[in-house]
Every structure is written in C-alpha cells, then in structure tokens.
Subunit: 376 residues, 2 copies
C-alpha cells in the first residue's frame, strides 16, 4: 500500500442500487492540496476502469500518478488552490472494497457473491468520502471515461454538492456497440479455464483471459489513425520474433502484447468484470425516464464536456448529447471536440490539447506566458 | 458436398509464395451460366474469409448462396450473359486444400505443417481453375473483403487475363489496426486449450476460441451506428436470460452469441488462422516496391472500386487509395463511397446500394423500369 493512500470505512450496511448490500465497505482515496477555511475548494475525481486513486505524485508518494500532468501545484487542476480527492472506485481492487475483498459476514472473499455494481454505487461511495472530510460543497466533480459517467451520476444524485462538472470521454448511457465489446472482454476471461467460475486463487487472475481482454481494450482505447502512424507495417526485428507461424511478427502485435502483459497481475479479474458491467448498465434515463430528463437533474451550474473525434468506444456524439442536454437547462456549458489521434485514451496522452481545456475551467494561470516558470 | 461443387486438381508441386509447397492441391469451385464461343465472357469471383464457392443457387444446388441477390439470371452479374466461376480459396475448408486437408506426402492432415498462405497463392490457385476451363481472357475478376484483395493480386499477377476489376471493401495492404484485430482473433483460438497447438480432432474445432473470434469479427464487420439502430439498450426477455450475473442480458449480447454459435462447427480453426494471417501479410507494395508501383501493374483496363463509409476493418480511405492508384494509370475507374450503415459487411446486406453499382459495371438491364419483370 502506498503511503499516500487513505481509507474511509462506510460504517454499517451499504445498500447497492441493483439490490444486495455490503457491510462496512472501505473506499481508498488520496488527496492533494489543503481544504480552505470555507471548505468549498474541494474537487472530487473519479477514475476510469483501471486506475487506482494515485492520480498524481505527492510528498507521501512520489511515484508518477495516472494524471500526473493534470494535477499538482501550478498544473491545470492547481493543488495550491484546490483540495483534490481521488477515489478508488467501489468494486475496484486498489484498496476499495470489491469482489476480491473479504466479505466480513462470511470471512471469505466475495468473488461472484459481490452484488451487481452500478456507476451510481461508485458515485455514492465517493460522496461518502467527501462527507467524511466534512465537505458539504465541492468546487467540481471530475472524471474521464467510466469516471466521466460517474461524475454525471454524482451530479444527478447529489445535485447540491458540486458547483462544476467535468465529464471527459464519458457517456449518458452505454451504446450497444460498447456493450458488445465489453461483453466480449468479459467472455474472454470467463472462457479461460484458470478463471474457474471466479474461484481462482486471489492474486492469481487468469492470465490468458486478462491478456486477451486487455488487448481488445487497447484496440478500442486508441484509433486506427494512431496505429497507422505509430506502427505502419513494421516488422519486429528477427531477434524478437518467436519463430512460431502464428507468433508475433508485426510491431503492432508486439506493442499489444507488451502492454497487455503489464496489465496482468495488477488487476483482479472479477473486479474487472464488475466494473466493466457497471458501465454497460449505466443509463441516465434511469433518473427521470429519459436521457433528457436525467440530464435535467444534474445539479452542476457549470460544465466542461470533452469528446474526442477518433473515440471508437465512447463516440463523440455521446459527449455532444451530454453537452446538448445540459445546455437546454440553462447551465454554463463548455463543449470541446478534440481532434486527437489517440481516441478514447487521449485524456491520458494528448496533454497539449487537454491541459488548456482543464486550465480554462479551473482558472489556472499556466496558459499565461511564463506563468509556469514565474510561479514555481 | 453440394452437387454443384466441382473440383480441380492442380497437378504436381504447387510452390507457395512465402516458401514451401503443396502436392496436387485441389480447388473447389462452382460455375453459373455458359462460356460463350469466344470464351471471353468469364467472370472470376473470389470470396471473403469465410464463404464457400456457393455464391448463388443453381439447378444443381438450389440452396441460397452467399451473394444470391447479386448473381443469377437477370441479376446484376447476369448469368445469362456471363460465365461466372467462384472459387473456394486455397487454404479454406470447403473442398479446397487447406490445413484441414490430408497431406498426400504424409497421409496425415497438414494442420500447422501447412505452409504460410498468402493472398497471392489464393489468386494463383484461382487462375489455375480458369486455365483448366480453357479460358485465356476474363471479362472481369471480382471480390469483396479478402476477395477484394485477391482480385487485385490476380490483376497484378496475371495482367493479361481480366479486362475488368471489381474490388469491394478491399485494401492494397492490411493496416496495423486490422492486423491487431485479426492477431487477437487468432490468439483467442490459440488460447483455447481445445485448440491443442492445432492438433484438435478434425471436425472438432475449439468451440470457445472460435466463438470469441467470430464475435470480435462481427463487431468489426458492422458499425456502431447499425448496432444502435438495431439493438439500442433493449434487454432480452426474461425467459431467455441465463440468470448468471455475467450472462446474456442485452439484446446485442444475444445477437452476437446466436450468430457466433452458427459459425462454430462450419469452419476449421486452423484454416481460419491461415486465411486471417494471409490478409495481414498482403501488401501490394511487394509488387514493385510501393503501393503506387504495385497498383500500376494492375492489368485491368476498367475498374469498379467500392468502399463503405462506416467500415472499421477496411476503412474507406483504403479503397480510395486503390481507386486513386488505378486512376493515375489511365484506367477507367468508377469509385463509389457507400453511406451504408452495415460497415464492412454492407456488400452482403445493403443490396439496394450495391446492386446498381455492380449492374452499371456489368451492363445489366435490371435498372431499367420493368426490366426484371419483362425479362423473366
């Protein structure tokens, strides 16, 4: 466990939106910056499917975080101004309670006895952390990908809490194509005999299933154009070829393999499936009968909605739908369509485009020439 | 074996382009219509990865073919005018020699001892059938998807043979994104313990691996827009739900599952992998040093090149690249960009758009009002 990680126990019975409950679930989180005297400078950050709460480095944990360039002193979300809280999602496996955790009622890991997880459950669990810190109002709730869904859910379920909403490459509901892709990823895991109906030894997730699922993920997180630019039809050097007739030959195959192998061993397979399924189930229309009515319930007064033109998994029309829905209800909405090549993952990579957008929303000073240098 | 199927044995040693050879390989084919006295009304049709040579029904085999609406009397490729030959690709498993065939030199199935297969090998084997029929000149060579690649290869390797070239949703070379997807499909099969390094009992291809690969295929053969229109977020009726927490819930999951199960048992897994890999390896630049020089070698004088705007697997810019390359060399090129929703598979489904295009190229009469009725 990293020394920056803090744990909040939600005492008692935590009822899940689709039925079932958890006893004393724990949410892992990290914070950066200081809560001000008015307690109104908090920013709650929800993650995508796979990251931990370690969004950025800190004195307590100097290792690079997953959004290192976006978060910190004199960064777009400036931690000399804001008190940032990033939560590891309920259902994940980096300190928060999930399918790999011990069920206190049985003393055994939940595994598939974990109740159905929804994006709303993740949002509610995140809000419990905010409350535990004595915060009633947030400056903003922020998220990308699954986190972009969760931020919307938070703003619907707790309309009085966050003044601002930042939803990046998110969606008001999962499209059938995305559901098909995620369903196939889950089936890859379930087809691996080592999965053993979810009863693999904890810490030993099924390697083949997770590798295949991650490779499909990587193909949907980026764009055809980026693959062409990066890999073309380059072959791997002879010394890295396997000699196998169906082994690794093209650089693109080598890239997918190397990155998928990194993922294996860090993520619990059952947790992955619960989080993946939660995205499929998400539908803002569950709050009010239609996407339009659901978005009307969003409490944020200001919103930054970002989509990427090359996103296959959460196509840009989904972010446009969110922006249009929020616009109708008299909010201040900044919608940005990014021409990034990196598809769904652009928010992690195309910092030159994303930094200014976040910077504008958070009134940072880094866009002014020399600001970064003079301020530090 | 269907009664329309004919077999041609290519006697002797058939040398493969990437090394290795086959002894007396067999090519299965079907024909429709009659060869005219001048022997110049032949049309050679190459298939995509999965179909047999049974492109259309006939007296000998009245079952519906895979391109039934395109091929036949008074159809766009009018078999009262043309003598159409459709070949089952070398390397496939519907009568032609492939990895599931017996190697006459050993008396055992080839399995992974089958040599590396290329699109060029498929084109050459098809040409051997044409020659066996006493045909020196073809009216056209035609193909879609993998067949669109093969038709181009044929026109490069045998520039004197076909006067016309029809390449639908094909490519001058595989893109890294498409290679990544196909590589992952092959890996799904290889990860299935039942694959057993290619040594499964013949006729018993690994079920899980083939089902996963086919599902990914189906997700890449269609478009996000079509999935949305067809399935939305519809749930399967309760009586068809499995009760399993990760079982089939959405209609899109049910659709993928039903169609993938149909595919299993009809296609040999090793053959699938050889054909899939052949597409990855295809690069017109191998003929002349660049795609431009390769396309300059195409012998056809007239060409119809069709692409579909929603195609993920063979994006439309790849067909534009072919059309542009052919245009440079003074050919008569008709390039059509189809706005079909059905993506890569549109040529099998969106007949209202594809029929007129083929009809124009083959000078059929069906587009004239009443032609279909008066002619029959």
């Amino acid at each position: 466990m990293s020394s920056a990680r803090q744990l909040h126990t939600i005492s008692g019975r935590f009822r899940m939106e689709h039925g079932g409950s958890l006893v004393d679930p724990v949410i892992a989180y990290e914070t950066w910056g200081e809560l001000n005297f008015q307690r109104d400078n908090g920013v709650l950050l929800f993650t995508g499917l796979s990251p931990s709460a370690h969004a950025a480095s800190s004195n307590e944990d100097p290792s690079t975080g997953w959004w290192e360039q976006m978060l910190g002193p004199r960064r777009p979300i400036d931690t000399t101004k804001y008190f940032v809280i990033c939560v590891n999602s309920l259902g994940s496996c980096f300190g928060s309670t999930g399918a790999a955790s011990i069920n206190p009622e049985t003393g055994e890991p939940y595994r598939l006895d974990f109740p159905v997880l929804t994006i709303e459950d993740i949002a509610i669990a995140g809000q419990r952390v905010v409350e535990s810190l004595g915060i009633k109002r947030l400056h903003a709730v922020v998220g990308a990908s699954m986190g972009g869904m969760t931020a919307i859910a938070h703003s619907i379920l707790f309309p009085e809490v966050a003044d601002g909403l930042v939803s990046i490459s998110g969606a008001a509901r999962a499209l059938p194509y995305s559901i098909g892709l995620r369903s196939l990823q889950r089936e890859m895991i379930r087809c691996d005999p080592a999965w053993n109906s979810g009863n693999y030894p904890l810490g030993k997730s099924p390697i083949d299933g997770m590798r295949l699922a991650r490779k499909l993920g990587m193909l949907t997180y980026r764009s055809t154009a980026e693959f062409e630019q990066r890999f073309g039809r380059e072959r791997v050097p002879e010394e890295r070829q396997t000699g196998d007739i169906f082994g690794i030959d093209f650089e693109v195959e080598s890239y997918l393999d190397a990155h998928a192998k990194k993922f294996i061993g860090t993520f619990d397979a059952n947790c992955y499936m619960y989080l993946s399924r939660a995205m499929d189930l998400f539908d803002v229309a569950d709050h009010g009968g239609s996407v339009e009515y659901g978005l009307a319930r969003v409490g944020a007064r200001r919103a930054l909605i970002i989509g990427v033109e090359t996103d296959i998994l959460f196509p840009i029309k989904q972010q446009r739908e969110i922006a249009d829905g929020l616009n109708k209800n008299g909010r201040e909405v900044d919608f940005r369509a990014m021409p990034s090549l990196q598809g769904h993952d652009a928010f992690l990579v195309d910092m030159d485009r994303f930094r200014p957008a976040l910077c504008d929303f958070f009134n940072c000073t880094m866009n002014q020439p020399g600001a970064l240098r003079t301020a530090s």
